[in-house]
Symmetry: C2
Subunit: 332 residues, 2 copies
């Protein structure tokens, strides 16, 4: 049986060009004992993948050139030589960017049966959702009534973060760009602030207008002017959870940081980076808390879907243009 997969021809400098992603095919060997073959139905593309394209070890090894790229995926078992899996089982795994995956059964996660569409386990109930929940609760120690600011607030992570924060009763402000994203935020009773065409100074002023008392928590996905503006609007004792700095992932040279880090001192504030894989043992706890709310329709999650394996690199590259609302997915 053939698998078709994307491989990277070279490590990009700056914004990756579409041509670096090469669609290849390969004959799969027969299944070994303990192995499972899966037909992928949904692939995830996520901003963190850009870090694995740098050729440098950060918190995770870089992608290998000319080898199948990796990422979260959902699929159906089509053949199994592992005792826990049989044909027809739905599973989640990390062998994305391809149509057919062949893996040790030990690395597969069976999908829970919660009466929700399977692709939700790549988004609101997958890594992005878990990231939103962990950043707020475990890193920023979100408390009842906290005022919360979220950047990239209509993205896969941000759109859950604003809703989880809102449920705790404080003022929630979301930063986004496009008009439809701002509208989505307003529909959910989130105060929406656009970053478009603004420098840090103007964005600071607009955040102040949206929440004059300042923020107890800042959920950071973007960096750059968003971070600088947020630092100007902290309450005493504020906590910043750094989930990502998407504004800088495609920069060829390091950009200067915010000029107002002294606000951490003045406001006795804390800024902490985290990586979701460190917290994955808490996934069952997250699922138990957030899963039923998703199943009952209390949490709105959006998806931006590209069709077909061939579109996977385009879906990925669109992340950096802000083209997605909610989770960016590829349907096979």
């Amino acid at each position: 049986m053939q698998t078709r997969y994307f491989a990277l021809r070279d490590y990009p400098k700056g914004t990756p060009s579409r041509e670096l992603f090469d669609l290849r095919s390969q004959e799969l060997p027969g299944l070994d004992d303990g192995e499972v073959r899966i037909r992928n139905s949904w692939l995830s593309v996520d901003p963190y993948m850009r870090g694995r394209m740098s050729g440098v070890k950060t918190y995770v090894a870089p992608f290998e050139l000319d080898a199948p790229l990796e990422g979260a995926a959902i699929g159906e078992v089509i053949e199994s030589r592992h005792a826990h899996f049989k044909a027809g089982d739905k599973v989640r795994h990390m062998a994305g960017w391809r149509d057919i995956a062949q893996l040790k059964g030990d690395v597969l996660e069976p999908l829970p049966d919660m009466q929700i569409p399977e692709q939700a386990y790549l988004g609101v109930l997958g890594m992005p959702g878990m990231t939103a929940w962990t950043g707020l609760n475990r890193i920023a120690n979100l408390r009842e009534g906290d005022n919360v600011l979220v950047s990239a607030a209509s993205g896969a992570v941000g759109s859950l973060a604003v809703q989880l924060a809102k449920a705790r009763g404080g003022t929630v402000v979301g930063i986004a760009g496009a008009a439809d994203k701002l509208e989505w935020l307003e529909q959910h009773d989130i105060r929406a602030v656009s970053y478009k065409g603004k420098d840090a100074r103007q964005l600071s002023a607009d955040l102040k207008e949206a929440c004059p008392e300042g923020f107890d928590v800042y959920y950071e996905n973007v960096g750059g002017d968003c971070l600088e503006a947020a630092l100007n609007n902290l309450k005493v004792g504020a906590r910043i959870a750094i989930c990502g700095f998407i504004s800088s992932y495609n920069e060829e040279a390091p950009a200067p940081g915010p000029s107002n880090l002294a606000n951490l001192l003045i406001q006795r504030a804390r800024m902490q980076g985290f990586i979701i894989f460190d917290h994955w043992t808490e996934y069952p706890h997250f699922l138990e808390e957030v899963g039923p709310r998703v199943a009952q329709g209390e949490i709105d999650y959006e998806e931006t879907i590209e069709e077909g394996l061939e579109r996977t690199p385009d879906a990925f590259l669109n992340l950096f243009d802000g083209a997605n609302r909610g989770k960016m997915l590829v349907r096979l």
Copy 2:
């Protein structure tokens, strides 16, 4: 009775000029009930005072123009109408920058009797010492065996921080400038790294050489290139306690921050600002732990002393030229 005091003629922009500090005198009114008159013997000058000269409220109100400046001081009661104090008592208070202070007795702290020179209560056992201890223990959660980096490591705060850290058994590296400061560090078995004539890249490389495994804790007094270099040398789970950013206090315009904040994410590190006045209720605990070690000569503390009230502004301004080793004091 006359008091002689320094007042600020105007709020400085950039490095304050000596002429902004005006020595004045004033006839003191008679003592009211509950008041105490003190002859100051030692005055403290500290970097944080620059923040109070900005004319802007940060975490503490700005100094009033044309009024006596304030700061920690040690003196002897010469007249008292407060039941707890009598002539001859040694006290600490915040009415520095003057020779005679007249205050409500309620704001005075009697000096503990620990057989150490009284001016130590302005330094190693005063606010700077308490700041070192709090930053390490309460903000950075210093643990046994931690590798610790301290900037301005021979200053009033840093020189205690390196010794407290060293006692916990890990590698301790101190950043300083002048040769005698580096030597002082080496004498205390602290690995000394000079920042002189280096950019952040070179300083990063030198820190890496001094402690190849990286740092669990960074005690930050300086900012600028020191922070950037430290961020390049963090271990996973590192904690940064931000005590101050002395490199920026005299800047006229905000300078860009470090370009490598993404290391907070990669290393899942935490950076937290603190202000010692928030923690002052812990002072007795600090004194109990550190006081006996100072009395027994286990902790080396240095002093840089200017003589005479007239020299107080010079002592203060010298802080920003790195002219002090250990605590900068004025003896009256």
